[in-house]
């Protein structure tokens, strides 16, 4: 089987450098410069995979990124394994291991192949139709369907490679380094523009660079040699940055493009260490020139998918670029001149061409004459109606086309072969152009969509602009470039071109067969096994929109995104529906043009760099004291400090008791702090908070609740009046940035007349909170000069003080209900003050506590946490906080919404306390609350928002929101859990010290 089909040496492949690789476990050899596909073909291997639905044997079909069939898994079972890689794009290296996908037990014998025989039972929409009923069975079906869905295997271990993002700004970006791209790059760069040229392939020059035929000449040299000189010249230009192996994935608005540059995938694995594997280039270009070329179209006929059937252009590329013959007895099926070019190339290399089957009846072409001179039989006005050979093509059957091309006539002729090249003409690669927002137009004469309206400063040139023939490219490109770049002349203004190509074409979207359509398998989408029959069925069933037909039949939904067959799908739809091609438009081309790895997308933002995290000045102290941390926004906050193998519950119980019995200390530095200054600061606070602020004296603090205009609680915190026109506002930890943004919004847009200035000082000040009955004694030692008597320094007031030489602001405010002080201090001194508090508190068993204990202590007092006990549906009235709403105030943000018909309803969810009948039973936060468990369906009244075991009350306590809860005091409710139901009683949300005696204890 392993025959050598390397027929000619090629300057693009290094035959002195032999490379061994494995495919499906067997060892093969190729040369440096080979792709996996060219190396396999050189070893006479066509069968590389199985199709998705019918598991039909499939071979290499193309030579580029449009490949639908030859997709493989690389390095199976290793940490570098990668599924769905196109064999046509993988450059081989020593040690490469590739294997077939979607087959079991092997690509040669695949059990799933039975689906091919069952195919009459598997029409388009089979899964939608079959697994609809009974609905309850879906879960059972799903298990099996999921197993058979998807291609390839994901890696199961972390990616060992390094990825990067790079930002690039340039004057001109040129996408595609074929002949027109090279011409554009040289012209732009020589005019002093900072130019970037990218191409997805490892070598420049597209398909012209290996064109050595006498039938295509530029300035009297064959076009390949001419282009090679141009390439050598542009490599020397300083202001031209050339990136090979770089595929543009997305072309966004405003000339912003994303490209993936491949840096190590062609290297043996041991050489990749410590190198960046792939880069995501984020390119912002003043001007973009798209020169992405064109893709050859296949032809749609019965059994057009067998291994050994390739695009004619691919056969040419394998022969010219890699010196590889795809077969020893080649036949071509074509509707234009392209297949003749390939045939001539093969003949020159001594590869046998049996016949050319041409849909065209009359052909006036110099290429045809040369073929006939070489005694190759040309069947004019014929088509292929069937192919034979299960794992590799061995025979084709031809018949004569009728005049109108709708039928086949006469008798069948069988020809044997081992390779069939097909050419259905060319489709301009307009994917990137349409991604950028460009509009296409349909060119009737050769049935192609070409760019019409651009959405940004860009042009398409060359084949992707519809200049499919070399002479059109050479003639038109300089003209386009001059206009686009606003220059007078190019090096190509007087280039002479000679071409033997005849541009005629006979386009038939679905070639006729001697069988009825229902008996044929004419594949339109090879990867997803969508056939012409499926498309017609979709139309019969009433689908009209191209987008619907696509989703119903899955045409164009594979990893290749239908690069080959989409045009045929459109053609068949418009023919069947009797509409014009241009009217349907195309399906939407979405990024990425070729698949991207996750590694490239995330770049360096992995592991500890996934997101930034913010640390308080006492972070090291918390670490040293074994704190567990929790993430609050981007902050790492001390959660609890376990001692002697305590679990979280035990630690929190100990911390909570200590804070109430003697003294606790909390790092509250993460609270948002906004410095507010200006002559209208008081009026501003009046407008943003629900309560009144104008009468707050200097040196006093006040708790405030901030709403949205819809009346729902948005944030809360204590604000202190530092001076006549100077306040400091605290916000919740997570809400800080949004609150500042919201306040700025009102100041700048609604109330520009107010003289108010806002500055975020969250990071500038650290906050140390010391609470508990002994807090006063501790603070009197920390700040001996401060008079802590209730007369001088009552609850809800503030003092400037000095600790040694350090200025600080001390507030007597409390989130725990205990006698409590908050020291606000410049961040870089904070740790030393914290340690001083710990020192002075030693005799009082001062206990550091984390956020969990803080939550427990405030829940005992019934204080809410915005975002935990509230969501965006709770008004202050719902929270039973009517006292904080300044009803006499003329206006504040959200006031009007508090008496909308919806917000005044009695049966809104309202915050209540919940006590379990069994005091040791702790509710689960989020658990549902109901009244009647026997009702069906059970009516949900609300849910538990906060729940703890209170060591100070020696019972379980909880807060929850309950529909109409305000009027349910003392009522019994039920919390149904998975295995039990828990009985609770609705209670006052303030569980401890309702009289607030502890504040002054």
């Amino acid at each position: 089987m392993s025959k050598n089909l390397r027929v000619k040496s090629s300057k693009f492949v290094d035959e002195t450098y032999r490379v061994s690789f494995k495919f499906n476990g067997s060892r093969y050899y190729g040369y440096k410069g080979d792709t996996l596909a060219s190396a396999l073909l050189a070893n006479n291997i066509h069968l590389v995979g199985r199709s998705f639905k019918y598991h039909r044997p499939r071979g290499i079909m193309t030579s580029g990124s449009e490949e639908p069939n030859a997709i493989v898994q690389l390095h199976n079972n290793s940490d570098r394994t990668e599924p769905n890689v196109r064999a046509t794009e993988v450059e081989i290296y020593e040690g490469l291991e590739a294997s077939s996908q979607n087959c079991w037990p092997s690509v040669n014998f695949d059990i799933g192949g039975i689906n091919n025989l069952l195919s009459p039972l598997l029409p388009a929409g089979f899964y939608y139709k079959t697994f609809m009923w009974p609905a309850s069975f879906w879960e059972k079906y799903e298990y099996f369907i999921r197993k058979s869905a998807g291609l390839g295997k994901s890696p199961t271990t972390p990616d060992p490679d390094i990825y990067e993002h790079e930002y690039i700004h340039c004057d001109v970006l040129i996408v595609g380094a074929g002949i027109s791209g090279i011409m554009a790059a040289k012209t732009a760069a020589k005019n002093g523009l900072k130019t970037i040229l990218v191409d997805e392939k490892p070598n420049l020059g597209g398909s012209t660079v290996y064109q050595s035929s006498e039938h295509f000449k530029i300035n009297n040299q064959n076009s390949g040699s001419w282009l090679e000189k141009e390439i050598n010249e542009i490599k020397k230009i300083d202001n031209l940055d050339i990136r090979i192996r770089t595929s543009v994935a997305a072309f966004h608005g405003y000339n912003f493009l994303l490209a993936r540059e491949n840096l190590t995938d062609h290297l043996p694995i041991e050489q990749r260490k410590n190198k960046t594997r792939q880069k995501l280039l984020k390119i912002r270009a003043k001007k973009v020139i798209t020169a992405t070329g064109s893709l050859e179209r296949p032809l749609i006929f019965d059994n057009n998918d067998r291994p050994g059937i390739l695009l004619s252009s691919a056969i040419k590329r394998y022969a010219d670029l890699f010196g590889v013959a795809c077969g020893e007895k080649n036949i071509f099926l074509t509707n234009n001149d392209s297949a003749y070019e390939t045939a001539i190339s093969l003949i020159q290399k001594g590869i046998k061409v049996e016949a050319i089957v041409d849909n065209r009846e009359e052909i006036e072409s110099k290429l045809l004459y040369e073929i006939e001179k070489n005694n190759v039989k040309v069947f004019k006005g014929f088509t292929i109606v069937n192919t034979h050979g299960y794992k590799k093509i061995n025979k084709v059957s031809l018949m004569k086309l009728s005049k109108d091309g709708q039928k086949v006539i006469g008798s069948k002729i069988d020809l044997s072969c081992d390779c069939l090249g097909v050419s259905g003409g060319w489709t301009p690669a307009v994917h990137l152009f349409t991604q950028s927002g460009g509009k296409l137009k349909f060119r009737e004469e050769d049935q192609v969509f070409i760019p019409s309206k651009y959405s940004s400063d860009q042009i398409s040139i060359g084949a992707c602009n519809g200049d499919l023939a070399l002479e059109d490219i050479i003639k038109n490109t300089p003209k386009y470039l001059k206009e686009f770049l606003n220059i007078k002349k190019t090096d190509y203004d007087n280039v002479e071109i000679f071409s033997s190509e005849n541009k005629s074409k006979r386009n038939i979207w679905l070639l006729p067969s001697d069988k009825i359509l229902g008996k044929t398998k004419s594949f339109v989408d090879y990867q997803n096994d969508a056939t012409a029959k499926d498309i017609k069925l979709a139309l019969r069933e009433g689908f009209r929109s191209i987008e619907h037909v696509k989703r119903y039949t899955t045409t164009g939904m594979g990893t290749d995104q239908g690069k080959l067959g989409n045009m045929h799908a459109l053609g068949i739809i418009s023919e069947t529906a009797g509409t014009k091609m241009g009217e349907h438009g195309t399906t939407t081309f979405r990024p990425p043009y070729t698949p991207l790895t996750f590694g490239t997308i995330v770049g360096r933002n992995v592991g500890e760099y996934f997101d930034i995290f913010r640390k308080t000045p006492m972070h090291e102290w918390h670490l040293k004291n074994k704190a567990e941390f929790e993430n609050v926004g981007q902050w790492k906050r001390a959660w609890y400090y376990p001692k002697n193998n305590e679990n979280m519950f035990e630690a929190v119980q100990r911390e909570s008791r200590a804070a109430r019995e003697s003294a606790g200390i909390l790092d509250a530095s993460t609270l948002g702090k906004i410095d507010i200054q200006g002559t209208d600061a008081s009026e501003f606070l009046n407008r943003v908070y629900t309560n009144a602020w104008s009468k707050l004296n200097v040196g006093k603090c006040r708790y405030g609740l901030m709403l949205n205009e819809d009346g729902m609680v948005y944030d809360d915190g204590v604000t202190t009046r530092l001076a006549e026109n100077h306040y400091i506002m605290t916000t919740t930890t997570g809400g800080a940035a949004n609150v500042l943004g919201k306040l700025e919004d009102y100041l700048q847009t609604e109330w520009p007349e107010l003289d108010v200035y806002l500055t975020s000082v969250t990071d500038h000040f650290a906050t140390i909170s010391v609470c508990g009955p002994n807090s006063k004694k501790i603070i009197s030692n920390v700040i001996p000069d401060l008079d802590l008597t209730d007369e001088n320094f009552p609850h809800m007031s503030f003092k400037n003080a000095k600790i040694g030489k350090i200025n600080c602001r001390v507030m007597r405010i409390s989130f725990t209900g205990e006698h409590s002080y908050e020291i606000n201090i410049q961040a870089n001194y904070a740790n030393s003050v914290w340690e001083k508090c710990m020192d002075e508190g030693k005799d009082f068993n001062i206990t550091p506590y984390g956020t969990e204990t803080m939550h427990l202590l405030r829940a005992e007092k019934g204080f809410i946490i915005v975002g935990q006990d509230t969501d965006a549906t709770m008004t202050p009235i719902d929270l039973q906080m009517d006292w904080i709403v300044g009803k006499k105030k003329y206006d504040f943000i959200g006031k009007r919404s508090l008496y909308r018909s919806d917000t005044i309803k009695d049966d809104r969810k309202q915050l209540v306390g919940l006590l379990t009948d069994n005091p040791n039973e702790i509710l689960e936060e989020g658990a549902q609350i109901v009244a009647d468990i026997n009702k069906s369906p059970i009516e949900m009244l609300g849910h538990v928002t906060s729940s703890y075991y209170s060591p100070n009350l020696k019972k379980s306590i909880a807060l929850g929101v309950v529909r109409g809860g305000k009027n349910m005091m003392g009522k019994k409710l039920i919390i149904p859990m998975e295995n039990k139901t828990i009985n609770v009683t609705v209670a006052d949300p303030v569980f401890l010290d309702k009289e607030n005696k502890r504040l002054n204890a």
Partner: protein
């Protein structure tokens, strides 16, 4: 991604900005005198048109200033950028 010409800082990437919804919706001066329907009109009703839409934007990760933008939602073309309080320079 757009390039947005902040009226205070100049051209910057879209990622520095935050969109703030429809522009030229003034907060009623006397909300308490409005009916539920009138208040709901201010609170909830926003246009979402194909064509030129007037929007508020904030240079959130820059100067923090709010400004107005006229943007064609069909192709994301920015037709005009102007300061808060100014009248739209185009229709």
């Amino acid at each position: 991604m757009f390039i947005i010409n902040c009226p205070f800082c100049g051209e910057r990437e879209q990622s520095e900005f935050k969109a703030g919804g429809e522009a030229h919706i003034e907060r009623p001066k006397q909300p308490t005198e409005l009916s539920d329907d009138e208040w709901a009109e201010y609170l909830f009703m926003r246009k979402n048109i194909k064509g030129i839409q007037f929007e508020r934007w904030n240079h959130m990760h820059g100067c923090r200033k709010w400004f107005n933008m006229a943007r064609d939602t069909s192709n994301d073309e920015i037709k005009a950028i102007y300061k808060i309080g100014e009248k739209p320079p185009i229709k």
